[in-house]
């Protein structure tokens, strides 16, 4: 509980800039972002389209390298890692949920959820068994063997959450997790994400436009024109 009382930063961005292109055609998308994301919290990143939310998320996830500044994730300076080490770092420590789910269409729900374990070299039967247990917790017991094309949007997002959490990562990154869902389903999957991902050893970053889910965030960082404009915080618990 101490970690909640005195939050520790899981992700710390200091003076982060990101520039795309070179010379006259270059575009500065992040203009010196400072942001701390804490263990045991859900941090929402909100803002207008083009404000740099997605780029910030990509930098924090190690999918893009910052042009300047420091990106510390789980105590590790990402710039100090080689590209392959970054991939292995992501595999071990990060979980992803995407706007379009990006499930593999040929794999069943259970197999999709098991992909991070398979990538880590876990035995297929073991991986699928663990995936099925997690899908049970997400209320997908009856849909283990369904292909993504046979799942509703909400079900697909639940499988995507299972995939993001199956390897028990310390940082979960979700990009617009409710934008492809109707209002009611969006609320439901957010409740699930909040309850299942809440852990003192885990931080969650969610990029969203959807103001209906703002209540799920401990902190809401509002971006504008490539910088964090302001941060608001309030205390929530899984039960709330």
């Amino acid at each position: 509980m101490n970690s909640l009382a005195v939050p520790t930063a899981a992700v710390s961005l200091q003076g982060v800039t990101k520039e795309f292109g070179k010379g006259e055609s270059s575009t500065l998308v992040l203009r010196g972002v400072n942001l701390d994301v804490y263990y045991g919290e859900i941090t929402l990143i909100v803002g207008q389209s083009g404000s740099g939310k997605t780029t910030l998320l990509s930098v924090a996830a190690g999918l893009l390298n910052a042009t300047s500044g420091t990106v510390m994730v789980l105590g590790q300076d990402l710039a100090a890692l080689s590209p392959k080490e970054q991939v292995l770092f992501r595999r071990k420590n990060l979980g992803f949920a995407f706007q379009q789910f990006n499930l593999l269409p040929a794999l069943t729900a259970c197999e999709n959820a098991a992909v991070p374990l398979l990538a880590a070299g876990v035995n297929r039967h073991e991986a699928i068994h663990r995936a099925s247990l997690l899908l049970d917790r997400l209320g997908m017991t009856h849909r283990y063997n369904a292909l993504p094309s046979k799942l509703s949007g909400g079900e697909q997002q639940r499988v995507a959450f299972a995939r993001a959490l199956i390897h028990e990562p310390h940082l979960v990154i979700a990009d617009e997790p409710t934008s492809s869902l109707d209002s009611q389903t969006g609320q439901l999957v957010m409740e699930l994400l909040t309850s299942i991902s809440f852990s003192p050893n885990r931080a969650v970053i969610i990029v969203t436009h959807d103001d209906r889910i703002f209540r799920f965030g401990n902190r809401i960082a509002t971006m504008s024109d490539g910088i964090i404009d302001h941060i608001t915080s309030h205390t929530i618990t899984p039960s709330s």
Partner: protein, 379 residues
């Protein structure tokens, strides 16, 4: 991740089947055309390979291939016999005549005149009659395909009269020989008879067949014959290859078959390449998701190569199976008798097919390897 790669491949059934079809088709085209080409080329040497008694062929130095032998004077036979290391040497006549039956049918025949005493060069398999009956007056043995052409629909029967060069002949045997390159009938008779059937010239001996003394290799003795007589002497294998190279260089056969084989390769590569590329482009976000999740480029490379190998293996298997079926169904027909698939064709086709699929997957592979995983966050 092999399991994921396999399911990604077979999960998209239309593309998977399209790939298999393209590779299978290319594989069939390549293996079938190569087999027919090799079989045809082997046919040019079939009459050389059928003569198993003698291992050295002696001929005029200007001879380019088997079917074009300039007759040698008879004294060359004695000169060959005098070469140290030659165990024995016999003459072989090869000429062309027109054979006519008592029913009026006629066909061109390639007639071999065998040494009267030894009958060296006789057909290896008799279906009806005895080889020794060639010693009978006017005796001729003909091959089974020739018999069927002369007497369509009739059962094998010996003792029938034929006529060549206005001379009477008697069919004393029916033999089985390897299919020759040309469509002529093939007949065997004694050397002295052959000169009468075809018509004597100043020189008549087409080849001298010789055998080295025990313990000496045909190549060594052939060199000695060449040195001592000035004639060309080759072991049967070298003479066979000389004949094959002649047909390769002086006929359009390699170009014809080569073109078809190249078409097979292009079709296979274009269709497989395009399908692989589309498959990858359509799954780019999924590949991006895998990269974001922590799948390394090395693993993705192995996944795509595994998919390529599966497609290549199945397509190759289907293609060569179809080719084998084709050859099995046609190898007994007169026109395609003896057609076979040399083992080298299986290896060659496998190399080509796996190269096609590898090249086809390279374009898409590059796309995946340079893929920025951040693509997954773009709507």
């Amino acid at each position: 991740m092999n399991f994921v790669a396999f399911k990604m491949l077979v999960g998209d059934r239309p593309k998977y089947l399209g790939l298999i079809f393209a590779i299978g088709f290319a594989s069939f085209l390549i293996s079938q055309q190569c087999s027919i080409f090799c079989s045809l080329m082997l046919r040019t040497t079939s009459q050389i390979r059928d003569i198993v008694d003698a291992s050295i062929w002696v001929m005029d130095p200007a001879t380019l291939y088997f079917d074009e032998a300039r007759p040698l004077p008879d004294n060359k036979l004695y000169r060959v016999r005098q070469v140290p290391g030659v165990a024995w040497a016999v003459p072989l006549f090869k000429g062309t005549a027109t054979m006519r039956t008592d029913k009026g049918n006629f066909r061109a025949i390639t007639l071999f005149g065998l040494d009267d005493t030894s009958l060296v060069g006789a057909p290896p398999h008799m279906l009806l009659g005895r080889l020794e009956d060639l010693s009978l007056p006017d005796a001729v043995i003909i091959d089974r395909d020739g018999y069927k052409l002369l007497y369509p629909g009739e059962p094998y029967k010996i003792g029938r009269e034929i006529e060549m060069n206005e001379r009477r002949g008697i069919i004393v045997g029916i033999c089985k020989i390897s299919r020759a390159f040309n469509a002529n009938l093939v007949g065997f008779t004694r050397y002295s008879n052959a000169l009468d059937f075809v018509g004597q010239q100043r020189n008549n001996m087409s080849f001298v067949l010789a055998q080295p003394d025990p313990g000496l290799s045909p190549e060594v003795v052939a060199q000695r014959i060449k040195a001592k007589t000035g004639l060309m002497a080759l072991d049967w294998n070298a003479f066979g290859w000389k004949t094959i190279w002649y047909y390769m260089k002086h006929t359009g056969i390699p170009i014809n078959f080569g073109t078809t084989i190249i078409v097979g390769i292009i079709v296979g590569m274009v269709v497989a390449g395009q399908t692989f590329y589309i498959f990858t482009i359509e799954n780019l976000k999924q590949f991006g998701a895998l990269k974001a999740i922590g799948v390394t480029n090395g693993t993705l490379l192995r996944m795509i190569l595994l998919q390529a190998s599966i497609v290549a293996f199945i397509g190759y298997s289907i293609g060569v199976s179809m080719c084998s079926f084709f050859i099995m169904r046609t190898t007994h027909l007169p026109a395609t008798r003896g057609f076979t698939i040399p083992w080298q064709v299986f290896v060659f086709t496998a190399i080509i097919i796996f190269s096609i699929v590898l090249l086809a997957s390279l374009a898409s592979l590059r796309k995946v390897l340079v893929l920025e995983p951040a693509i997954v966050f773009r709507g």
